[in-house]
Each structure stands twice: as structure tokens, then as C-alpha cells.
């Protein structure tokens, strides 16, 4: 009845992904058990066990992810996602929320970044309290859930749990500001859910002028064919060696399929995979979703998906299953699953049009095009997540850098994943795209500028992580989603390395603490993408710059957007190298045990590898482009909406790289030789921009809570003043006296 086609990503089942979530939680439970032990000796033994288990589990998470990535990379070309089935949290009608984990090109870099950062955090916290260690482990598991979960609701659950755990387990005395930041974070996450829901409903219908919603007349489920490359082609007149086709269905966990009057089997009466069962020859095991490539008799079938009580059974009329061909059953209509929404957008109907995309483009809610509304919600979500995690807690000056960075990364990585998953919707609207990109690049530049003046390493790194998320969002909105997520992952890995290598939260204490550490230089290079080409963030940024510059941005000059992104990159580069130079070349104050060494090398090395992979092969393009990557970096293989000529493209590549180099050069001039305090004292706008107050949280509060500022004020009014980091200049003056 409904003739749909499209190039859908194949999936392979991979249960091991669940260990990425479960193992850290297991370690956390061991830590909790140790903490609750009453006997001192027993406590000591359990504590030792918990500490060992925590780093082993964290390392296993990294290993599992790498293995999963390798399996995915070596699978058949059409298989582009690994799926770990979960359980259904709620299911009503045709909408279900389940905990399935999915590893895709979007989630892989972010998951790797989270896993490596978490592992480093846990290793460094080995001598810390069990509360800190257990909280860190549990937060790692939660972030992994957030990054890997396919459903936005579950992803948000992961992010919120991580924030909650880190807030309680890391902060010594969190107070009202923590509460406000926590509320902002949840507001952001709810905005992300709302953005997803808006997209979901826009796919299934439209809002009419009177305020009601009218569903579109799309089918709920369709069969989409794609040929197996490994299968022998069937020519006219020949008899196929295998009369079965293949059936794939990964949605609605637990659903069974009726094929005509029979039931689809996982194992049929003869013990073979697939097939169908009837009353006289029942299945040995009935097939339940999710399953992939299950042999099914070739014919024209009437398929009914039996989803159980409380739901509607779904009928698919005339599903053709052909020998050597895989038929995907794809759900259409409202969903909170990122991959399912993306699948819908790829489907063409018989006329060659993209019905889901058309529905998304045409939908208007409250008089605003739905993609623009989604863009606004995504930006609020991203900004709220960022500002909430910008160490807006009552941190002590001597708290480790890891705490702030962990808080920042948890939300940023999950938000980046959701933004990347929904970015294609935003790109459907010209106005929405331009607005979203403009806001993103401006925010990125502003945050990087603030980081460049921050006197607190932890704060600077948190700001830079947020800036990377904004830059990544701009890339996503411009049509280069994988570049966007890889950029976020690479920069965050660089920042983790930088934080680990520099050691102390304040620049004053960090000064000279990491002298000679190779991890420091490599981390700064990876996070800044300069001065060496092709190592670190520069590679991924190139793709973003080119995508932006070739964007059809209406009356806004596209080069302006690219230029703004370059400005942000320049500030980012400056801020990263500033920290590196101060830590390495400044006046040595004291050293932090364990700050130097080979451990901080791991994140930047992974970041560099990720960036190269993104530019060259498995993540973005066929492997043969690896060599080309040395000549023309990611820009050449970026998916711009409007192709550029080679020379122009190269020009933008050079522009992006040059911006980062400029940042490096300025940082080197100022901080490579002088004592950092002296260099800092002569900076333009130093007094205005280095202060702690004019950060984004008050700004967001002001604009977002304009109407409620009177009430929001008591949240901070009665609390003791935050321990402020006084400007170094005045401190030094004090010392001189």
C-alpha cells in the first residue's frame, strides 16, 4: 500500500554496550558497601577492593567501547550502528520509551571522550574519599547512559543523575547557587526533551491556526528494502540458493510479529534461525524485537506487529520480502528515539519526496516553523546545561580541577549528542538555521573569551568545554553533525588532559607545576588545534568552517558566520595555550603529586586519533581518503549544503587553521617568557573580563527569568558569599607589603 524506500543504517546487536553503564555502577555499589561497613578491618578490605574495582571497571568501559567501535568498523558497510536492547520504560499507543543503547557515529566519539575522562578522573581519585570515588564511578555510568541511550528521555535521565551525583559527592558544601545551577540544568534537559517532542509531533502532523493539532495521514509503519551486498544477485529465471529474505525490526522491544496467519520465529520448529510458526508447527522460540537480518519466507506478506496490552497493534500491508534482500520495518510518526526520527527523515515515498522531512519543514507551532522552535529549545537546552555545569557550585579554591571539569563534561557531552541527533531538523529551516548558528558561534566566542581571561584553571576549562559544545552545535546546524560531535569530543579530551597536566585549580598555583610535561603540550595542541596542522581540534573545525561558509544563509553573508567561528577558535586557542604556558613556564610555586607523568597523555592522544579518524576514514568517509587527509583536511569531505570549488575550500581551511595559530602566537608572546602575573597585569579589558560575576549564569537568569528574577533572588540572597578568587595582582601586592 505504501511504497517507501531509503538508505537506512543497518544495525548489529551488541549487548556488551550495557557493560559501559553497568560496570561503573557496580564499582560505585562496591564503594557504597565499603563506606557502610562498620568493622574497620572489613571496611579497609572492602575499600581496597572498591578502589581497585573502580579503575578496572573504568578501564573496561574504555576497552568495551573500543572493541564495539572496531566491531562496527569491520562489519558490513551498511551496518552503521550497534544496538544493545533495553527494557521498555513506558509504552502507550505507538509511542514507547525504552532504554536501548545505540553506538553510532554521533555517540561513539562522545562516549569515548566520556569514558576516557571518567577513567582518568577515577584513577586520579584513587586516594580520595570513597564518597568521591563512588560518586565519580556512578556518574561515569550515568553519563555513559546519557551518551549511549537512543531515547532522549533516557539520555536526559543519565545526564541528570550524573549531575546530581557529582553535585552531592564532589562538592563539600553546596548551597543555594548549586541549587540554582541544578535547576537550570534540569530546565535545559527538559528543553531538550521538549525539542525532541516537538520534532516527534511535527513528523506526525501539524498545528492548525485555531490551536489544535491535526495528525498527518502517514502510515505508522512501513517496510523498506535494501539489498545485502553479500548476497548473490538473483537474475531473471534463476532460482535463488536461499529462498528466504531477511527481516529487521529494532523498535518496540518485546513486540512479536504475525506474518499472515503465522508467527515469526527466532528459531523455527526445525531448529533453524528465522522462519514462521503455525499452530501445527509452532516456533521453538518466537522472535521478539529487536532482531536483525532474521530469515523470513520470501513473499508478499500482511504483517502485524503485536505490541502487547495498552498499545495498538500495528498493521503493515503488503510487505514484500525478497530473496537476498533485507526488509527493514520502520516506524513512522511520533517518537522520542533519535535514530528512529533520523530513519524517518531518510525515507522517500513513491513520488521521490521525503514525507517526514516535508512534514517537519511545513509544521508551524505557535506561528513559528517547527524547526525554528526546535532550534530555540535546543539552544536553551544547550546553554542551560552549560551554564548549570559551569562550576556554579560553592567550590573551594583548592578543589581539584577534575571536579569542575567533570561537572561540565557530563552535561555538555549528553547535550551535544542530542543536539547532533536533532540538528538535521533545524537545518530544514533557513531562518532557524541561521539564527541557531549565529547564536552558537557568538556564545562560543564569548565563552572562549571569558576563558581566556579566567584566573581559575577549572573555570577556564569548564568555559572552554562549553565553548566547544557551542562550536559543535554550530557545525551540527550547518549540516556537519559528525564534525560537530567529534569537535566536542576532541576538545574535551584535550581539556581533560590539560586539566590533569596542569594540576591546580588556580593559575597562581598551577604556575610551573607541569614544567616539561609532554601531556601538557599535546593536550593544548589537541584542544586548540594549533600550531601543528592535522593534530586535534583544527581538523574538525575545518569541516565546520567550510560547512558554515558554504551555507545558504539568506541575507546573512555566510562568510560572516565562518569568520565568527574562526574568532571563537582563536580565543579558544589562546585560552588553551595560556594555561599551558603558565603551567609550564611560569614561576614554580609547588607541585601537585601525580600531576605530571604519562597518564594525562591518554586523553589528548585519543583526541588526536579521533580527529584523524574523523578527517580520514571510518567515521566520515571511505578509507581511501586517509591519504588525502594529509593534503586536504576534513573540509574536503565535509557534507556542505552547497559545494565549494577546491581553491575556495582550501582558503577556508587555511582561515580556520590560521585563526587557531593566531591564538597560539598571542599566547606564546605573552606567557612564554614573562612571569604570568606580570603578563596578566597588562591585558586589555583584564579588569572587566577576569571578574567572576559577569558569567553566563546571571545572564541567562536575567533574560530567561526576567519575569521571575524577584523570586529567583532569594535563592542566592541568604547564602554566604562564594569564596572568591582574588585577583593575583592584589594578592601579590599584599605579599610584598
Amino acid at each position: 500500500m505504501f511504497d517507501y524506500s531509503g538508505s537506512l543504517d543497518g544495525a548489529q546487536l551488541d549487548w556488551t554496550l550495557w557493560s559501559c553503564v553497568a560496570l561503573p555502577w557496580l564499582a560505585a555499589l562496591l564503594a557504597l558497601r565499603a563506606a557502610l561497613a562498620s568493622d574497620a578491618q572489613e571496611r579497609e578490605r572492602l575499600s581496597r577492593l572498591a578502589r581497585q574495582a573502580s579503575w578496572v571497571c573504568a578501564a573496561l568501559v574504555v576497552g568495551v567501547l573500543v572493541l564495539a567501535a572496531v566491531r562496527l568498523g569491520t562489519a558490513a558497510p551498511e551496518v552503521r550502528r550497534a544496538l544493545a536492547p533495553g527494557w521498555t520504560v513506558l509504552s502507550i499507543g505507538t509511542l514507547d520509551v525504552n532504554t536501548a543503547l545505540v553506538l553510532t557515529a554521533f555517540s561513539l566519539p562522545l562516549a569515548l571522550a566520556a569514558a576516557v575522562a571518567g577513567a582518568l578522573f577515577i584513577v586520579r581519585a584513587q586516594r580520595a574519599s570513597l564518597r568521591r570515588l563512588g560518586g565519580g564511578s556512578a556518574a561515569l555510568g550515568s553519563v555513559m547512559l546519557g551518551v549511549l541511550a537512543d531515547d532522549v528521555v533516557i539520555a536526559v535521565m543519565g545526564a541528570a543523575l550524573a549531575h546530581c551525583l557529582l553535585l552531592v559527592c564532589l562538592a563539600p558544601e553546596p548551597g543555594a547557587r548549586s541549587a540554582l545551577s541544578f535547576g537550570l540544568g534540569r530546565l535545559g534537559e527538559l528543553c531538550l526533551i521538549a525539542a525532541m517532542a516537538l520534532g516527534a509531533w511535527a513528523v506526525g502532523g501539524n498545528w492548525v491556526a485555531g490551536g489544535g493539532y491535526v495528525p498527518g495521514f502517514l502510515p505508522r509503519v512501513v517496510g523498506v528494502e535494501h539489498a545485502l551486498e553479500s548476497a548473490t544477485p538473483v537474475t531473471a529465471g534463476s532460482v535463488p540458493s536461499d529462498p528466504n529474505g531477511r527481516l529487521t525490526f529494532t523498535a518496540l522491544p518485546g513486540a512479536t510479529l504475525r506474518v499472515g496467519s503465522a508467527v515469526l520465529c527466532a528459531v523455527d520448529a526445525d531448529g533453524r534461525d528465522g522462519g514462521v510458526g503455525v499452530v501445527s508447527r509452532p516456533c521453538r522460540r518466537v522472535a521478539t524485537s529487536p532482531f536483525t537480518e532474521l530469515p523470513a519466507p520470501a513473499a508478499l506478506h500482511e504483517v502485524v506487529i503485536v505490541t502487547g496490552p495498552g498499545t495498538y497493534d500495528l498493521a503493515v500491508e503488503k510487505v514484500r520480502i525478497r530473496p537476498g534482500v533485507t526488509t527493514d520495518l520502520v516506524l513512522l510518526g511520533p517518537t522520542t528515539s533519535l535514530t528512529r526520527l533520523a530513519d524517518q527523515a531518510r525515507l522517500r515515498d513513491a513520488s521521490g519526496a521525503f514525507p517526514a522531512k516535508s512534514a517537519l519543514s511545513a509544521a508551524r507551532v505557535l506561528g513559528v516553523p517547527a524547526p525554528t522552535g526546535i532550534a530555540v529549545l535546543l539552544l536553551i537546552g544547550l546553554l542551560s546545561s552549560m551554564t548549570a555545569l559551569l562550576a556554579r557550585r560553592e567550590s573551594a579554591p583548592d578543589d581539584p580541577v577534575d571536579d569542575d571539569l567533570a561537572l561540565a563534561l557530563g552535561g555538555v557531552l549528553v547535550a551535544a549528542k542530542i543536539v547532533a541527533g536533532l540538528g538535521f531538523v533545524v537545518a530544514l529551516s533557513g531562518l532557524g538555521t541561521v539564527l541557531a548558528i549565529l547564536v552558537s558561534v557568538l556564545v562560543a566566542a564569548w565563552l572562549a573569551l571569558r576563558a581566556a581571561y579566567a584566573r581559575n584553571t577549572a573555570r577556564a576549562l569548564g568555559l572552554l568545554a562549553s565553548a566547544s559544545a557551542a562550536t559543535g552545535a554550530a557545525c551540527v546546524f550547518a549540516g556537519a553533525p559528525v564534525h560537530g560531535v567529534v569537535h566536542v569530543a576532541v576538545v574535551c579530551l584535550g581539556l581533560v588532559g590539560l586539566g590533569a597536566a596542569s594540576g591546580w585549580p588556580s593559575l597562581e598555583k598551577a604556575a610551573g607545576s607541569a614544567s616539561g610535561s609532554p601531556g601538557l603540550w599535546l593536550s593544548a595542541q589537541v584542544a586548540a588545534g594549533a600550531p601543528l596542522p592535522l593534530i586535534g581540534a583544527g581538523v574538525t573545525l575545518d569541516g565546520g568552517v567550510r560547512a558554515l561558509s558554504s551555507l545558504d544563509a539568506g541575507s546573512v553573508p555566510p562568510w560572516l558566520l565562518g569568520l565568527l567561528l574562526c574568532v571563537g577558535a582563536s580565543f579558544t586557542s589562546f585560552a588553551c595555550w595560556r594555561i599551558a604556558f603558565v603551567a609550564a613556564r611560569g614561576k614554580r610555586v609547588e607541585t601537585l603529586e601525580g600531576a605530571a607523568g604519562s597518564l594525562p597523555l591518554a586523553p589528548p592522544v585519543l583526541g588526536a586519533v579521533l580527529a584523524l579518524l574523523a578527517a580520514s576514514g571510518p567515521l566520515l568517509a571511505p578509507l581511501e581518503t586517509m591519504l588525502r587527509a594529509w593534503w586536504v583536511p576534513a573540509a574536503e569531505i565535509a557534507p556542505p549544503s552547497q559545494p565549494l570549488l577546491g581553491d575556495v575550500a582550501l582558503g577556508f581551511v587555511v582561515l580556520g587553521f590560521a585563526a587557531a595559530v593566531i591564538g597560539f602566537v598571542f599566547a606564546r608572546r605573552r606567557y612564554a617568557r614573562d612571569d604570568w602575573a606580570t603578563a596578566e597585569s597588562s591585558r586589555v579589558f583584564g579588569g572587566r573580563l577576569s571578574g567572576e560575576t559577569p558569567e553566563l549564569t546571571p545572564i541567562v537568569s536575567k533574560f530567561l527569568f526576567a519575569e521571575v528574577s524577584v523570586v529567583a533572588a532569594p535563592l542566592t540572597a541568604k547564602e554566604p558569599a562564594e569564596p572568591s578568587v582574588e585577583p593575583a595582582r592584589s594578592k601579590r601586592k599584599g605579599k610584598r607589603r
Partner: protein, 679 residues
């Protein structure tokens, strides 16, 4: 006073019901002479015979026999049930004084499990537009489960017996307090067992298309001319389970209750709330609400609060009761036995007669009069800002009663609105959707702001709970099945969260005194278990992931976007503020240092300045609550599986699916004018 009001109420209802209906040309009776036809099992089918007698002096032309089915999307009778004359026709001519026999037959589909269903045979004649009706009753489970029909009644009677038991136990000289609590706990335990039994027997696959309108227990009967109805379905089952849990929570943490009067009030409130939950007629629901309103007004909890606050709960109940009693005014329908009535009290009958009703009430559409009363009254019962000022004083002074009443009355009030809107009067719900959503969103925002002003644990509880109350309005106004389910989750989650939070408050008050509760800090170090329960309660009230409420919050955001996108955005803001308020309250309670002045207080000196550990029942209650909240938040499917069918049924009534949606359900919208969206 209360009794007088109730008496007057019943008198008015009886008067309305006894208004004469028009005389019917035919007399319909079961073949055994009963006024209702009971189908009995005959060779696998359920069959019943009835006689049609021409009691007039004229010849009567029967033009057709039918079952009162409603539209295909909104069927009242099973699809496979048929009716015809014995000779196989459905038309005949009856001479004066003659009879014909009709046969009702239902071939039961396999696997359907409900206790009892009702249908109605209609005989159409050429002389009259109005058909003559005969009620039909049938059983699906047969006689295999005699206990099931009594569960709704038991859920009401057991707490009433508990109240009597309290009065008896209070006369004991020794250990009266303990005995009273034991009696209340025992009655709640029995209620819980009854509800659990019903839960286990409930078939989640049951829908309204299967023959009992989605109610697996349904009981309708005429008592003194007033039709009473009791029943349980996926929606009411959640609340039937919730109420005894709340009572048990109150028992676990209610040592501070001063005397047996609070426990008597609590048992009566439990009975009243249970009556509202199981009742399927406007009279029983009104009686239940009036009882709870009277309990609150006479609880003596408002001595330290402004006088007017005492009357806000009874006023809210009165508004709802007024709305319910005005609902059937001026419409004609049938009783369950098939007699015509001008004041049908049964909700199922009202849902049929109000579907196409256009008669005016006081010169305006019925919805304009009735619905605002129901909404405002429910707002007061939910303790929303400005409307429900009773909740905070009650929570401050009557800890045990507050657990049941503040949590339970809000939940049951919301449930009643949901039931009335989606089952009885979908037209009003669809009409009021934008206003309802905005009302809920604004209420949630104001409540969140109020919660933000309260920096300490006990001050912010009620406003925080009101946030989810406001969200429930948004969810009910969504018209989507997912939104209706969200409303159930929000109402139940809110009550559970409140129970936990008030339990923590009671436990603290018992140890440091009521005035010392808000001075406590550093609870995480001082009493980790209590701090953990407080964290779960705060997270649950704020709708954080891991708590039952989060599922409702996520469903509300998703489900209300189609019908009320603007209100949804406001709720996001409210939820952000509520989270901040909850986090702040917990951080102030849980972290920091335990105050030295409390260590030196007379209450703690006997315990070396430390908080004494939780007692057995207290620990069981609080940890059980925390475990239940987390369980419902992380694995809600086991619960929601039983709500899904009812939510879809109610959602389908108010917002039928579109004609071209490819699903295996009938596809003819009943009310094409209503905006429809399904998930």
C-alpha cells in the same frame, strides 16, 4: 450540620430522580420476570431471553431491535453481541396484550477477563421516536471468582470499620495510642491486600471494546431510584492501591498524632477517598468528597492559621460536588434496568447522554457551568496556590492526617476530574483544553515560585507538591492518551513524594521537636538513612529522574505539546524552578553541620546529642516508600502496563484516532471537530 447538608443533598437527588418519565408503549422483562436480563452460559455462548409485551390497547409496530452500542469508536456493548426476535427477525407487529420473545446472544471471544458487563436492548416502534429499553447484565469470568465483585465495596467498608475500631481501641486504658495505630494499620493492610488482589486479577489487555467498557469490576444497581455504580479499571486501580499505602505511611511515621480523633478522621478520610475512587456515579462520588471535606474542616488543624483557610478544602469539595450534581440536570437517559430517567446519575450513562447533548443549563452550554466548578474545585483539592490554602496548615499541624489527606485528596480530586472529563464529558474537556492547560501551567509556575521562597525543608513541601498538581491539569488538558496517563503518574507520584517528605518531617519532629525541624542541617552525616529518604522524596517531588514523578513529567512534556505548546513551555520553567527549590531544601537539610544547640536540647541529650535511629516500623515505612518511588521511576512498566489500556480508552473517547491511521482499531472519529492526536 454536615448530616443536615448530606440529607438535603440526597433529598434533592431523590426528587430529581423520581420525576416521572414518559409512559412506554411496550413492557420489556426478562423471561423469568426480572427487571434486568441476565445472560447465562448456553453451549459456550451467553444467551438471555426476554419478553416484549404490548401493554396498550393499540397495535404496536416493532420496527427494529438493537443493542445500544454508540458509535463504533465508543462502543457500549461487545461487538459480537446480537439481539433478535426468537423467530430470527427484528421486526414484528404486536396486537394489544400479546407478547414476543427476544433473544440476546454473545459469543464470548477467548481470553477476555472481566467480572461483569452491562448492555441495553432497545426496541424501536413506529409510533414513538424514543425506544423502549431493557438492561442486560452478563459475566465474563462466570462464578469463578466470587470475591471480585465485592472488592470495591470492601475498599470503602474496611476503612469505615477501621474508624469504628479506632473508637473501640481508644477506650483501652493501656497502650491506647499503640492500639489505635494498630487498628488503622490493620485496616489499611486489608485494603491494600484487596487492591493487590484486584491488581493481580486485572487483565491489562482489557479495553472498552471488549464488553465492560474497560472496567474489569463493574457493579451498577438502582437504590431507592438512584443508580449507584462501583467499578475498577486501569485508572482507578492505581489510586485504590495508593490510598492504603498512604495510610500505612501515616501509621509508620505517625507517633506524633495527639489522640485517637486524628486517627478516626484519617480512617474516615480514607473511606471517603476510597468511595470517590470506586464510585461510578455522581452521588457516591459527592458523598465521598463531602465526607473528606467535613473531616478536614473538623480536624482542628487550623488553630494557628487564618480562619478562612479552614474552609478552602470544604469549599473545593463543595464546588466539585456542585459540578457533579449539576451535570445530569435536564438530560434524559436510562437507568441500568432500562427505565427512562430525567436525572441519570451513573457516569457511564451520562457519558452516553451527554455525548450529543445540546440542552442549555441556565441559558448557557452545560460545559460552561459545570466544568469551571469542577476545575476550580479540583484546584482547591490539589492545594494549588490561592485556591488550596488548607494544605499547608494541615501539613504543619497534623502530620499523620496530612499524609493521607494532602496527598490523597489531591490525587483523588485530580482522578475525578480526569474521569469526569475524559469519560463523562469529553466535550467539555475538549472545549476547555487551552484554558485548562494555561491554568495548570500558571498554577505550577506560581507554586514553583512559592517553593523558591521557602528555603527550608518543611516550608517548601506543599508548594512543591502543587507544582505537580498544576502539571496534572496540563496533562489532563492534553487530550492525548500519553497525557492522560501522565496525569495518573503525576497524581500518584505527587502523593508518594509528599508521603515520603512528610514522613521525614515527622521523624525529625519526633526527635528534635516541630520547631527544630527547620533548623536541622548536616543530616547526611548525622543520619544518612533519613537523608537518603529525604533526597528521594525531594527528587520525587521535583520530578527528577529516578523518581516516579519524572515519568509523569516527561510524559506531560511530550503529551501536551500537540494541544498546548505554549503552556508546555511555561511548565518547563516551573519545573526548573521547582528543581532548584527542591535541591536547595535538601542541600540545606542534608549538608553542612548539625546544629550544636539541637545536640544540647532536652530531646537529644538522652541520646548523647545524636539523632536516635529509626524504629522498625518507621524504617520499614520510609525505606519502603523510597524503594517504591525509585522502582516506579526506573521500571514503571509493570505499573503503567495496567494504566495503558484505560488511558488509551479515555484518550480515544476524548480524542479519537484519525480515519487514515494504519492501526488495528476502528477508524471512525466520533467527534470530528475535536482536535485529535494520538501517541
Amino acid at each position: 450540620m454536615t448530616r443536615a447538608l448530606l440529607g438535603a443533598l440526597l433529598a434533592v437527588v431523590s426528587l430529581l430522580v423520581s420525576l416521572p418519565a414518559s409512559a412506554a408503549p411496550l413492557a420489556l422483562r426478562a423471561d423469568n420476570g426480572a427487571r434486568m436480563l441476565e445472560l447465562t452460559e448456553t453451549s459456550g455462548d451467553l444467551v438471555g431471553r426476554f419478553t416484549i409485551e404490548n401493554s396498550t390497547s393499540d397495535r404496536v409496530q416493532i420496527t427494529g431491535l438493537s443493542l445500544r452500542r454508540g458509535a463504533e469508536q465508543d462502543g457500549f456493548a461487545p461487538r459480537d453481541m446480537t439481539v433478535q426476535l426468537e423467530e430470527g427477525t427484528s421486526a414484528a407487529t404486536l396486537e394489544p396484550g400479546t407478547k414476543r420473545v427476544g433473544v440476546v446472544r454473545w459469543t464470548k471471544p477467548r481470553g477476555i477477563a472481566f467480572e461483569r458487563g452491562y448492555a441495553m436492548v432497545l426496541v424501536h416502534t413506529a409510533d414513538s421516536e424514543a425506544p423502549v429499553a431493557l438492561g442486560v447484565r452478563y459475566r465474563s469470568l462466570g462464578t469463578g471468582d466470587p470475591a471480585l465483585p465485592w472488592i470495591p465495596v470492601g475498599l470503602v467498608l474496611v476503612p469505615l470499620l477501621g474508624a469504628l475500631g479506632v473508637l473501640g481501641a481508644a477506650r483501652r486504658r493501656d497502650g491506647a495510642k499503640r492500639a489505635v495505630r494498630t487498628v488503622v494499620g490493620a485496616s489499611a493492610g486489608v485494603s491494600l491486600l484487596l487492591a493487590l488482589y484486584a491488581l493481580l486479577r486485572f487483565d491489562p489487555a482489557l479495553t472498552r471494546f471488549d464488553g465492560s467498557e474497560g472496567f474489569f469490576v463493574l457493579y451498577r444497581r438502582l437504590v431507592g431510584g438512584v443508580e449507584l455504580g462501583f467499578g475498577l479499571d486501569g485508572l482507578s486501580l492505581s489510586f485504590a492501591l495508593l490510598l492504603p499505602l498512604l495510610v500505612l505511611a501515616a501509621v509508620g511515621s505517625g507517633r506524633l498524632a495527639e489522640d485517637h480523633r486524628e486517627w478516626t478522621s484519617l480512617s474516615l478520610a480514607h473511606a471517603g477517598l476510597a468511595l470517590v475512587v470506586v464510585s461510578l456515579d455522581v452521588v457516591s462520588a459527592s458523598v465521598g468528597l463531602a465526607l473528606v471535606g467535613a473531616v478536614i474542616a473538623t480536624s482542628g488543624a487550623f488553630a494557628e492559621a487564618p480562619k478562612w483557610t479552614r474552609w478552602t478544602a470544604p469549599a473545593g469539595a463543595a464546588l466539585v460536588v456542585a459540578g457533579l450534581l449539576l451535570l445530569p440536570l435536564g438530560v434524559a437517559g436510562f437507568t441500568v434496568e432500562g427505565d427512562a430517567t430525567r436525572y441519570p446519575t451513573a457516569m457511564l450513562e451520562l457519558s452516553r447522554v451527554l455525548a450529543g447533548d445540546t440542552t442549555l443549563l441556565g441559558g448557557v452550554h452545560r460545559a460552561v457551568v459545570v466544568w469551571p466548578l469542577l476545575v476550580l474545585g479540583t484546584g482547591a483539592l490539589l492545594g494549588l496556590p490561592l485556591l488550596g490554602a488548607w494544605a499547608r496548615p494541615l501539613a504543619s499541624s497534623r502530620a499523620a492526617l496530612a499524609v493521607v489527606v494532602v496527598g490523597g485528596l489531591g490525587a483523588v480530586g485530580g482522578y475525578l476530574l480526569l474521569r469526569t472529563g475524559a469519560l463523562v464529558f469529553p466535550m467539555a474537556l475538549a472545549w476547555s483544553t487551552p484554558a485548562l492547560a494555561v491554568f495548570g501551567a500558571v498554577a505550577a509556575l506560581v507554586a514553583a515560585l512559592e517553593a523558591c521562597r521557602s528555603s527550608r525543608w518543611s516550608q517548601g513541601l506543599v508548594p512543591l507538591a502543587s507544582v505537580s498538581g498544576g502539571l496534572a491539569f496540563v496533562a489532563i488538558g492534553s487530550l492525548t492518551a500519553i497525557g492522560l496517563q501522565a496525569a495518573v503518574v503525576l497524581l500518584v507520584g505527587r502523593a508518594l513524594g509528599l508521603a515520603g517528605a512528610l514522613g521525614v518531617r515527622s521523624a525529625l519532629a519526633e526527635r528534635v521537636g516541630r520547631e527544630g525541624v527547620d533548623r536541622v542541617s548536616g543530616l547526611a552525616r548525622e543520619h544518612p538513612l533519613l537523608a537518603l529518604v529525604a533526597a528521594v522524596a525531594a527528587a520525587s517531588l521535583a520530578g527528577l529522574p529516578g523518581g516516579a514523578l519524572f515519568v509523569g513529567v516527561a510524559e506531560t512534556v511530550v503529551g501536551s505539546l500537540p494541544s498546548a505548546p505554549g503552556a508546555t513551555l511555561i511548565t518547563l520553567l516551573a519545573l526548573g524552578l521547582a528543581t532548584a527549590a527542591a535541591a536547595r531544601a535538601w542541600l540545606a537539610l542534608g549538608l553542612g553541620k548539625f546544629p550544636e544547640e539541637l545536640r544540647g536540647s532536652s530531646r537529644l541529650v538522652p541520646f548523647a546529642g545524636k539523632l536516635p535511629p529509626l524504629r522498625g516500623a518507621e524504617k520499614l515505612g520510609l525505606l519502603g516508600f523510597a524503594a517504591l518511588t525509585i522502582l516506579l521511576g526506573v521500571v514503571p512498566r509493570g505499573w503503567l502496563l495496567r494504566v495503558d489500556g484505560a488511558a488509551l480508552d479515555h484518550g480515544g473517547r476524548v480524542n479519537p484516532p484519525g480515519a487514515l491511521e494504519v492501526v488495528q482499531t476502528p477508524a471512525e472519529p466520533v467527534n470530528p471537530e475535536a482536535p485529535h492526536a494520538r501517541a
